[in-house]
């Protein structure tokens, strides 16, 4: 950053390398990251459907892979990404109505998304694996 820029007193656009991560910026990039993660996740969906169409053997193969530890980790990542993107996506749509841009509102809805993602993930996995 040049001396004149620093002294001009004008607002500067954020330089990411020196910018302190904040809940607003972190959640924003996470929406993008989870969207890209879901691009990989759709391959699991496609595999599941193609396996069912392909017959019992292909389906059992799919189930063995998804019940393994790496398979479960992929599914867990998929679940977290989908829950986060769903909840933060609803936050985006709320913003599209022109509301929710005050700093305290941004922080409140941001934490709601973070806590909601954790809760949804726990509830879904507990239901899926019969722990409740």
């Amino acid at each position: 950053m040049s001396q004149t820029q620093q002294n001009s007193g004008r607002p500067l656009s954020p330089h990411l390398s020196v910018y302190k991560p904040q809940i607003s910026s972190t959640l924003s990039i996470l929406h993008r990251a989870t969207g890209v993660a879901l691009a990989v996740g759709v391959l699991v969906l496609a595999w599941w459907l193609v396996a069912i169409a392909g017959g019992a053997e292909a389906y059992d193969q799919f189930m063995v892979c998804m019940s393994s530890i790496p398979g479960k980790l992929v599914l867990l990542g998929f679940t977290v990404a989908l829950n986060y993107h769903l909840l933060n996506g609803i936050r985006h749509l709320y913003w599209d109505t022109g509301r929710g841009f005050e700093i305290d509102s941004l922080h409140r809805t941001g934490w709601m998304v973070v806590i909601g993602t954790a809760l949804l993930t726990v509830v879904e996995w507990a239901l899926a694996y019969g722990m409740v």
Partner: protein, 126 residues
């Protein structure tokens, strides 16, 4: 011939010329995805660990297959639009950007149609 004034014709177009439509369809698909994704999560939870016959019969049910096809169509469209923005933001070199955009379109159309075809095969394949 358009009867709009020159100003009326360009209003809202911005530098990208057709950005509003992209933005709008991204929102329309997002709204549709909220109920579809919630429905799908519930169905997948119910099918956790299901054996082959159970899973196949569940997907073959029209009340499952039709919303699933809607989810596939809406979801892959939304994904295509979303990844396009990500590529446009990060890849500035045209020699890489245009192949990346093409790859995105082919990936979304390919995996989307593969998934939809599998659902139809499960439903009608006997």
């Amino acid at each position: 011939m358009s009867l709009k004034t020159p100003l009326g014709r360009v209003r809202g177009l911005g530098s990208a010329k057709d950005g509003t439509e992209h933005f709008w369809i991204q929102r329309v698909t997002a709204i549709a995805l909220v109920p579809l994704v919630i429905w799908f999560i519930a169905k997948v939870i119910a099918l956790t660990g299901a054996d082959y016959m159970t899973a196949r019969a569940a997907v073959a049910d029209p009340l499952f297959a039709v919303p699933l096809l809607l989810l596939i169509g809406t979801g892959f469209y939304h994904l295509k639009l979303g990844m396009q923005v990500v590529i446009e933001d990060y890849v500035s070199n045209d020699a890489l950007k245009i192949p990346a955009l093409l790859l995105n379109t082919f990936f979304c159309a390919g995996v989307g149609i593969l998934s939809a075809f599998a659902v139809l095969q499960i439903s009608f394949g006997g």
